[in-house]
């Protein structure tokens, strides 16, 4: 059996790196009575994975942790256990139990919804966003650890809207096609001729396709 948790990363803890969070969760797990299953080998560790890594500095209310259990327990109990071991700024929202053969949460992720709030120049950025949406090709340089490559980011942005203060963006998040919200914002800033302006990013949802091909929040898959 596997327990799938949705948790948030808010407040100061948005500055904890993904690697640190992995180690931290392992220790948190040790503080609970969750019967985690352990890997085999000389240095066994609990079998757990995150659906997607979150960049340092971004908030989120949709982080997904997938833990393999060696014994059965109720979702309610599991939720209570994990909550007891985490600080306020890592709130656990829900838990769902799935069979071991259920697809891994990581493999299901297709897109992510973000709320992006610029500190200033919102009007100019909105104008740039309109131009972006009407374009077919918007080239931007994607940097990875090993390479730098110019790609067309326009098709990777599925949706882009705004309210009074923020943009809401639905962006591709698969191994092959990914657009990170900071690259989107830097591109919009460039289009608007703005230099060095800050913005905050919050992940609101991870999404994937159901077997019937319907786009759903990850926790419903």
């Amino acid at each position: 059996m596997r327990a799938i948790f949705r948790f948030g990363k808010i407040g100061r803890l948005r500055f904890v790196s993904h690697l640190d969070l992995q180690r931290y969760m392992q220790r948190a797990l040790n503080r609970t009575n969750l019967p985690a299953a352990y890997s085999l080998g000389f240095n066994p560790h609990p079998v757990m994975s995150f659906a997607s890594a979150l960049a340092m500095g971004w908030q989120s209310e949709y982080e997904v942790l997938d833990i393999k259990l060696s014994e059965t327990m109720s979702a309610k109990e599991a939720l209570k256990e994990l909550r007891s071991a985490l600080p306020e700024e890592l709130p656990v929202y829900e838990c769902r139990l799935v069979d071991d053969n259920h697809a891994s949460m990581m493999s299901l992720v297709q897109m992510s919804d973000y709320r992006i709030t610029p500190d200033q120049h919102f009007e100019a950025l909105k104008a740039a966003a309109r131009e972006f949406l009407f374009s077919e090709n918007v080239m931007a340089i994607r940097k990875t650890k090993s390479s730098e490559r110019e790609i067309n980011i326009r098709p990777l942005c599925v949706n882009l809207t705004c309210d009074e203060t923020s943009f809401k963006a639905r962006l591709m998040l698969t191994e092959k096609d990914t657009l990170k919200p900071d690259l989107l914002m830097n591109t919009l800033m460039k289009m608007a001729g703005i230099e060095d302006s800050e913005f905050s990013i919050a992940r609101e949802r991870l999404l994937g396709y159901s077997k019937a091909g319907k786009l759903l929040p990850l926790m419903e898959l």
């Binding site: 100061r12 640190d20 040790n30």
Partner: protein
């Protein structure tokens, strides 16, 4: 924008933001309106080092048990953050509530090594606290403790109160005194006067006059008339460690820290009497924590933290009187929970071997041994009670048990050392290599690795070697080079040694007096900080600082102090008597050893204070 938001704005621009987050699991938050005393506890180094320090964990815990006090942590911001804080007008702040340090009632600073002194000056400046104690009209009292408080003089003008010795009781006295002082509406000076009288182990440097002879040595350290300050300040001593406070929860950091595990202090003090070792003298007498208590604490800590490793802490864990029983019990008890126990590897005796075989859980990390000197003659001089046979037996046992990595620690520049003693280190390394190959091939693990580390000897206050000068840097470098060439001939040896310039500055301050405070100020102005970190230590800046202050560092580092000279710390009593230290210094010159005092009292002077030694 409030301070916390302004700090957050910097987080995307610094290395390892987790250093400045606070909010870790088990960190303590209280309502500031509901406490009487706000205590900032500072470790003057970066977060990862600070969070590996057991003393801070103990004192944080014991202070926060009080309903009337909130203790928060403060660390030195790494230079990248320090610069950003200055540029953005952000004062030094506490980790828990991000309150400016200046707004606290007491700022406690732990002095773990001399090379952190400049960081203390940086911290006071960044906090906006007057550097010199005499200029302070408001703001927190600056109270410093830890091993370097046993020669406090170089920091004297910057500090309100030094507390010597064990902190877990004395720290409460400083807090109680603060409450009463505030209630009575007394002056700052009155707090200091009262601290000198009412707090165990409290030394108030502003209550003493220091006079000097023409040759620059000290004429006298005298308490000011009418202040009631003591002629000799004796350290605070907690006699019963079993009933002393020990944390039942530990903060679990987000980032990786140096010692990322549960630290279990099994005893304090050491009976061996190595003559170079300050810790072995100033933490006397030996006080053990009872085994049942240790097991109970360990259970609670595992549950409260989720750490998967426990290490046994003390100056010489192999000497714990029921180590085999303790180790056996810990290993069997925590095996189910997949918690590893790090044991002192030099004491893998028969009983333990069986336990280890039973569990097969022991990780074969490097066997660590500290012969400290290369020849028996020099080991006798320093009273390191190990013989070559002991060492050979220990490494042979280890190789037979499947170890293949050995770390050997030595010092260069010990009193009476000759070239032969240094060459003896290479000789010993060669013998260790031979031991490995004497174990049958099918029995030993492949891949022998021998690491030889040689630090530079630094004479320390309150040790028998306090009168010795440090070996000059030229000779140190020559001997390092010589040893390196000799070790090159031994296959499979990795040689590591310390930069002698850092050890030289360390020696200056380890035996320094009050006049050196000016050098600290100059050095810090020139940009010296994080001097314990090779990437920041700047020998030239230090030389410039000495020149500007018109002080010759050789006077402190290299000069042999006279046996009748008034030492800069002559008014500080570590419990070990001056007579004992002199006797040991003389025996050292003759190459005579003094036995471990578990085998019978050697008359170090601790008996005068009762407790364990009575």
């Amino acid at each position: 924008m409030n301070l916390s938001d302004r700090i957050d704005k910097l987080m995307s621009k610094v290395l390892k933001p987790s250093r400045y987050l606070g909010a870790e699991f088990n960190s303590i938050t209280k309502n500031p309106e509901e406490v009487d005393v706000r205590y900032a506890f500072m470790f003057p180094d970066v977060y990862e080092v600070a969070m590996s320090h057991l003393g801070m964990k103990i004192l944080y815990h014991t202070l926060n048990k009080r309903d009337d006090t909130w203790c928060e942590r403060v660390c030195s911001p790494w230079p990248d953050m320090h610069k950003l804080m200055e540029e953005n007008d952000i004062p030094l702040f506490s980790l828990e509530s991000r309150t400016p340090v200046k707004d606290f009632d007491i700022l406690g600073i732990t002095l773990q090594y001399e090379m952190s002194f400049t960081n203390i000056l940086s911290a006071l400046k960044l906090a906006g606290i007057e550097l010199y104690q005499k200029d302070r009209k408001s703001g927190p009292f600056v109270i410093c403790g830890g091993p370097c408080a046993f020669n406090p003089e170089p920091l004297a003008p910057f500090v309100d109160v030094f507390t010597l010795g064990d902190g877990e009781e004395a720290i409460h006295q400083t807090v109680e005194l603060y409450k009463d002082w505030k209630k009575k509406g007394q002056t700052r000076d009155e707090y200091l006067l009262r601290a000198a009288k009412e707090v165990d182990g409290a030394y108030v440097p502003s209550l003493y006059d220091i006079s000097y002879n023409e040759d620059g040595t000290i004429a006298a350290n005298t308490p000011k008339a009418g202040t009631g300050a003591k002629e000799l300040v004796f350290k605070a001593l907690v006699n019963d460690l079993t009933s002393a406070d020990y944390p039942e929860k530990l903060i679990v950091p987000y980032g990786e820290v140096v010692h990322d595990r549960i630290m279990l202090e099994i005893f304090r003090g050491c009976t061996r009497g190595c003559r170079f070792c300050q810790a072995g003298m100033i933490y006397r007498p030996v006080r053990e924590r009872n085994m049942d208590t240790l097991l109970e604490i360990a259970e609670k800590l595992v549950k409260a933290t989720g750490f998967d490793e426990i290490s046994l802490m003390s100056l010489s864990s192999g000497d714990y009187s029921c180590l085999p029983e303790l180790a056996h019990e810990m290993i069997t008890r925590f095996m189910k929970k997949r918690v590893k126990i790090s044991l002192p590897s030099q004491r893998i005796d028969a009983f333990l071997k069986d336990t280890l075989k039973e569990t097969q859980k022991v990780r074969k990390t490097a066997l660590t041994l500290a012969p400290e000197a290369g020849t028996q003659r020099l080991r006798d001089v320093i009273n390191k009670g190990v013989t070559e046979e002991d060492l050979i037996r220990a490494v042979t046992d280890a190789f037979e048990e499947g170890w293949s990595a050995v770390k050997l620690y030595f010092m260069i520049g010990l009193p009476t050392e000759t070239d032969e003693d240094v060459l003896g280190i290479a000789d010993l390394a060669e013998k260790v290599r031979k031991c490995y190959f004497s174990v049958p091939k099918e029995k030993r693990s492949p891949g022998l690795r021998i690491t030889v580390s040689a630090s530079v000897f630094v004479p320390k206050a309150h040790t028998p070697f306090q009168w010795s000068g440090q070996l000059d840097r030229e000779t140190v470098r020559r001997r390092q080079k010589m040893l390196k060439a000799e070790l090159n001939k031994v296959k499979g040896v990795d040689f590591k040694y310390h930069e002698s310039d850092v050890s030289f500055i360390e020696a200056v301050f380890a035996r320094g007096d009050r006049r050196l405070s000016e050098v600290l100020v100059k050095a810090n102005e020139l940009g010296c900080k994080f001097d314990g970190w090779t990437e920041f230590f700047d020998s030239e800046k230090w030389a410039e600082a000495f020149q500007e202050a018109n002080i010759n560092p050789d006077f402190y580092a290299l000069r042999a102090y006279g046996l009748d000279e008034v030492l800069p710390w002559s008014h500080i009593d570590s419990g070990v008597s001056m007579e004992f230290l002199k006797r040991e210094w003389e025996k050292a010159q003759r190459g005579e050893i003094t036995h471990d005092c578990r085998k019978g009292c050697v008359g170090c002077g601790m008996k005068r204070y009762g407790g364990t030694c009575e």
